[in-house]
């Protein structure tokens, strides 16, 4: 039996679809189409109105909305044109268009998962570190992803710690880590192994977090200082 077959689960993967600024008619249709299209979809889609999500589905009348780092479906009145960086759906919402869009996203997520360097997903005790700055295509100009990548550059960090330090949802952290494992630039180290299990090459940058870093020689400010500086600058990411 192949390693890949061993990781296949009979349970459908759950994906969360965050809806924002949709009309009542849109929402009713999305709910109905998901019920009808359940058999055609590989994943179990759940509509949510807040919290963590995989895909954002929003109306075009949502100024200031932060699009999903992974995928955004934008619902627009027919003829209002395409919007950059999002996948458009026209009103009135059509069953085929929605199911095809979701299927395409499922394929994208499946591609990410299949390419995981660690079979079966990310080990619970895994810690991660980037060996280089990721390609722009993966970061998609998304501020959350850029911040997460910055946290991953300096030392090994676990999923929980990454989410806590960055104040970014665990789900988003996990998705980015999953994507990064496909690139070959992410070292993955488990506590048990204490050696990189997904590293193409060891580099001087890849040192265990427990080892004191020579990069700390210039400044040893306490962590509260950084929140103070962020407040002083008006950065809104502070914890």
């Amino acid at each position: 039996m192949s390693g890949l077959a061993a990781t296949v689960s009979p349970v459908k993967r759950e994906l969360r679809l965050l809806v924002q600024n949709l009309t009542g008619n849109d929402l009713a249709k999305v709910g109905a189409f998901l019920r009808i299209g359940r058999e055609r979809l590989q994943c179990d889609w759940h509509v949510v109105f807040d919290g963590e999500f995989h895909v954002l589905m929003r109306g075009t009348e949502a100024p200031g909305t932060t699009d999903s780092p992974l995928a955004t479906l934008c619902v627009a009145d027919a003829g209002t044109g395409r919007h950059d960086a999002v996948e458009p759906l026209s009103r009135p919402l059509q069953y085929e268009a929605l199911i095809e869009a979701l299927s395409a996203l499922e394929d994208r997520f499946a591609g990410m998962s299949a390419a995981h360097a660690v079979p079966g997903g990310l080990p619970p005790d895994a810690r991660f570190r980037l060996r280089r700055w990721p390609p722009a295509e993966l970061l998609q100009g998304n501020r959350e992803r850029q911040r997460l990548a910055s946290f991953l550059l300096t030392r090994l960090v676990g999923l929980d710690e990454l989410a806590r330090l960055s104040n970014v949802g665990k789900l988003q952290c996990e998705e980015l880590l999953a994507v990064l494992t496909t690139t070959g630039i992410l070292d993955v180290t488990t506590a048990a192994a204490a050696v990189p299990v997904a590293s193409a090459a060891s580099t001087a940058l890849a040192q265990p977090a427990t080892r004191s870093s020579p990069r700390a020689v210039h400044s040893h400010p306490d962590t509260g200082l950084f929140d103070t500086i962020r407040r002083g600058l008006g950065l809104t990411w502070q914890r």
Binding site: L130, R131, R132, W133, P134, P135, A136, E137, G141, R143, Q146, R147, A149, S150, F151, L153, T154, R155, V157, L165, T203, A204, L205, S213, P214, R215, A216, V217, H218, S219, H220, P221, D222, T223, L225, F226, T228, I229, R230, R231, G232, L233, G234, L235, W237
Partner: protein, 178 residues
């Protein structure tokens, strides 16, 4: 008298990369500029910095962040490292419309070579809209080839949030090393 705790963030990069503008975006005092009328036609701008640009962000409780901008021209390179010594972070700004932005970048990597392994650093590539090449990935690749890993972001230094993002990535690195 209470002593003020100072933290230093340095903006460096070639002439025209936007160091003065970036500091002006963040400083809560009018930045002290040392711009003079430019006599070097190759720089393509009316004024250029010949000393240090300086701005400051007051954090309260006797703390502040001092923002320094180095003069871009190569003849001032003796100042670059002096200014960056003991800095909390270094931001390298690149102007992608210059003739050879990757060569500019290499010049600054060489200049800071001995500091880079130990300093918190971010790279901002400007005017990528006008000149998409080289890509930010190429700048990241150049860093990787030297065994370095820093954030490389496309920026418009006239947008405060872009400059803040660069500084934030520097702070993140500093935070992760504590």
């Amino acid at each position: 008298m209470a002593t003020m705790t100072q933290h230093k963030i340095v903006f460096t990069g070639p002439p025209g990369a936007g160091k003065t503008t970036a500091i002006a975006m963040l400083s809560d005092i009018p930045p002290a500029l040392t711009d003079v009328r430019n006599t070097d036609a190759s720089l393509g701008k009316e004024h250029t910095t010949v000393g240090l640009d300086f701005g400051q962000v007051d954090l309260g409780n006797g703390q502040c962040v001092r923002l320094f901008g180095t003069p871009g021209q190569l003849r001032f390179d003796f100042m670059w490292r002096i200014v960056a010594t003991d800095a909390l972070g270094l931001v390298i700004l690149i102007d992608n419309t210059r003739p050879d932005p990757l060569d500019d970048f290499s010049t600054y990597l060489d200049a800071y070579m001995d500091l880079l392994p130990t300093i918190n650093c971010a790279v901002g590539v400007g005017r990528t809209g006008e000149c998409p090449l080289p890509t930010v990935d190429q700048f990241g690749g150049l860093l990787a080839a030297r065994g370095l890993a820093f954030p490389v972001l496309p920026v418009d230094v006239r947008r405060r949030e872009d400059v803040l993002m660069l500084v934030d990535t520097v702070l993140i690195q500093a935070e992760m090393r504590t």
